[in-house]
């Protein structure tokens, strides 16, 4: 029963996370992380060879809020909509109050012309922690297979 409950809580967190990004509610996105949480995107080709350079590395909720503020007010990019499909959720380890969880994702991007294309495929490697507000990310590391980013990456996946 406890394990079913765990999976249920994880799925609920993931569903809210995807909905926030897919509906363009970027301001909600940092709230899925604890205050000193880590969000990182790294190409599979770097990860596989042990090279550390990230595409994005935000190691506090403040940095995530800066990213959102910058996307809203500073950066120039095409209007776009993400659509997440996430699957294969697995709990890979339990460490005290935290859960290690991995899953696969595909993000389809639609631009104003009305064409949808697979923008990115990859794996999420998460470290989740229970808080008073429910499960939150202590870490979300996105290891993306689609090493050739189409034009640019503005919005986190």
């Amino acid at each position: 029963m406890d394990e079913m409950r765990e999976y249920f809580d994880i799925e609920r967190l993931f569903a809210e996370y995807c909905a926030a990004l897919d509906e363009g509610e970027l301001e909600r996105w940092p709230e899925f992380f604890v205050e000193d949480g880590l969000y990182q995107m790294i190409a599979r080709e770097n990860h596989a060879f042990g090279y550390p350079i990230p595409l994005l590395l935000l190691d506090s909720r403040g940095m995530m809020q800066d990213r959102v503020y910058s996307l809203r007010n500073a950066n120039i990019y095409q209007a776009h909509r993400y659509r997440h499909a996430q699957s294969g959720v697995r709990i890979t380890a339990r460490e005290g109050e935290t859960l290690r969880v991995s899953s696969s994702y595909i993000v389809v991007q639609t631009l104003n012309e009305g064409v949808s294309e697979v923008y990115q495929a990859g794996s999420y490697y998460d470290l989740l922690v229970r808080t008073a507000d429910g499960l939150r990310f202590k870490e979300r590391v996105c290891v993306y297979d689609t090493s050739r980013v189409a034009t640019l990456l503005a919005t986190p996946v």
């Binding site: 995107m41 595409l55 403040g62 640019l152």
Partner: protein, 422 residues
């Protein structure tokens, strides 16, 4: 009457002016011009970034890349030298190496298993002597005459360059006395490769070269610094071109002592300025002083495929790979110094947020080049841009509000393409 692009003769290609300030948009869209560039520039007497030497540490280490559209593999030989070859089997033209990087003593074409060593020398041909009573290769078949086409390669301070042309000068002559000290400045001690990020732009590669020679756009397109009150156009700057041909150039900015420069923005009514807005987490910009002159920006372009970047403490070699008239790939090869302490290394990784496909102050570059490409895809042969900003005879290479480096670039480009000003 507007001339149609199809009627253009590449031997008499008209330019509206000789000073490089007006560029016919056809150079961004014509496949015929693209092919002439590949022949005269990329396969011509130019040197191209292939790798950082640190990517190839051990004998047998290899990396697949390109010179222009030509696939090239660069390797560390068993003797510890560097070698490179065109990744095209001498037999039937198949791609031999199919991995991005790895370690191998031999490279075998999968089609008929012709095997080459790490220098690209042919070492084995299956059934060379025939099978049973059937004959094999001709009696006079000479392995040495059927190696992979060699690419000349040179390592300068840990940056590995290659050229496909026998006519190329030495690498240091190619970089030249004006630009070499700027390479030395960044590569003043051994560097360590940290990984790469890639992006693919649906625009012509020269639009990106214009972009990295254009300090005018920096504070106008990239609003991150101005939004968070970090960058100002009146920082001390340089905009220097290689006087020999105008094709290499460097832009630097160096922060001056604290001063209130916001008024310039208010005066010119530029919409990006918001007083007092600060980053919630400013750790991103905790710059460590590590260069004699701690430039905040160093954008150094070596024609036609290399851009050495230092922005605060994040450093990278950007490799520009044309794919067709309307597409190019941009690969950021990030590096630090081998003697980085843990804190500095962490800072470099964090500042990768600034530059790269998702970078706060670089993501707009490919957006801008694509905006141009989309608008010029359909145009007449005499449609051209206009770049008149800045006067180099007065500005002496110290202005950041200038397009003189782009004008020099186009003059040098015309000479290489056989369209030099009369």
């Amino acid at each position: 009457m507007a001339a149609r692009l199809e009627s253009l003769s590449l031997d008499h290609f008209p330019w509206p002016s000789d000073d490089g300030s007006r560029v016919p948009y056809a150079v961004f869209t014509s496949q015929a011009i693209f092919e002439r560039e590949q022949e005269r520039i990329h396969r011509g007497p130019t040197w191209h970034f292939l790798a950082l030497a640190d990517e190839l540490r051990k004998p047998g280490d290899f990396k697949s890349t390109f010179i222009g559209t030509t696939p090239v593999v660069v390797t560390r030989t068993r003797d510890g030298d560097l070698a490179a070859w065109v990744n095209r089997c001498a037999h039937r033209g198949a791609m031999v190496c199919r991995e991005l990087r790895g370690n191998a003593r031999a490279h075998r074409c999968v089609y008929h298993q012709w095997a080459y060593d790490e220098r690209g020398r042919l070492r084995g041909v299956p059934f060379q002597k025939g099978l049973n009573d059937k004959t094999g290769m001709p009696e006079d078949f000479d392995m040495a005459a059927h190696g992979l086409p060699p690419v000349k390669v040179e390592d300068y301070r840990g940056i590995v360059f290659g050229t496909l042309s026998e006519q190329s000068p030495t690498l240091t002559d190619y970089i030249g006395p004006t630009m070499l000290p700027w390479v030395d400045r960044i590569f003043h001690k051994p560097v360590e490769y940290l990984g790469c990020t890639r992006q693919y732009a649906k625009s012509n590669w020269k639009l990106y070269y214009e972009n990295v020679k254009d300090p005018y756009h920096a504070s106008l397109l990239h609003l991150f610094h101005t939004t968070f009150n970090i960058y100002r156009s009146n920082m001390r700057g340089r905009s220097i071109v290689d006087p020999r041909h105008g094709l290499h150039s460097i832009i630097t900015t160096t922060p001056q002592a604290e001063e209130d420069t916001a008024s310039d923005y208010q005066k010119h009514d530029i919409a990006t300025y918001r007083a007092n807005l600060k980053l919630a987490d400013p750790s991103l910009l905790n710059t460590r002083r590590e260069l004699e002159e701690q430039t905040s920006n160093n954008i150094h372009t070596l024609f036609p495929s290399t851009v050495i970047q230092q922005i605060h403490n994040t450093m990278a070699v950007r490799q520009v790979l044309p794919k067709s008239a309307g597409e190019f790939e941009l690969v950021f090869h990030f590096f630090g110094y081998q003697d980085d302490d843990a804190e500095l290394r962490r800072l470099r990784l964090k500042q990768a947020n600034l530059a790269g496909p998702a970078g706060y102050i670089s993501m707009e570059d490919t957006e801008a080049t694509e905006l141009v490409q989309r608008a010029v895809e359909s145009c007449d042969a005499d449609d051209a841009s206009y770049m008149g900003m800045g006067d180099d005879s007065r500005d002496q290479g110290t202005s950041l509000i200038t397009e003189h480096m782009i004008r020099s670039f186009w003059r040098g480009y015309r000479d290489l393409m056989g369209w030099g000003a009369r």
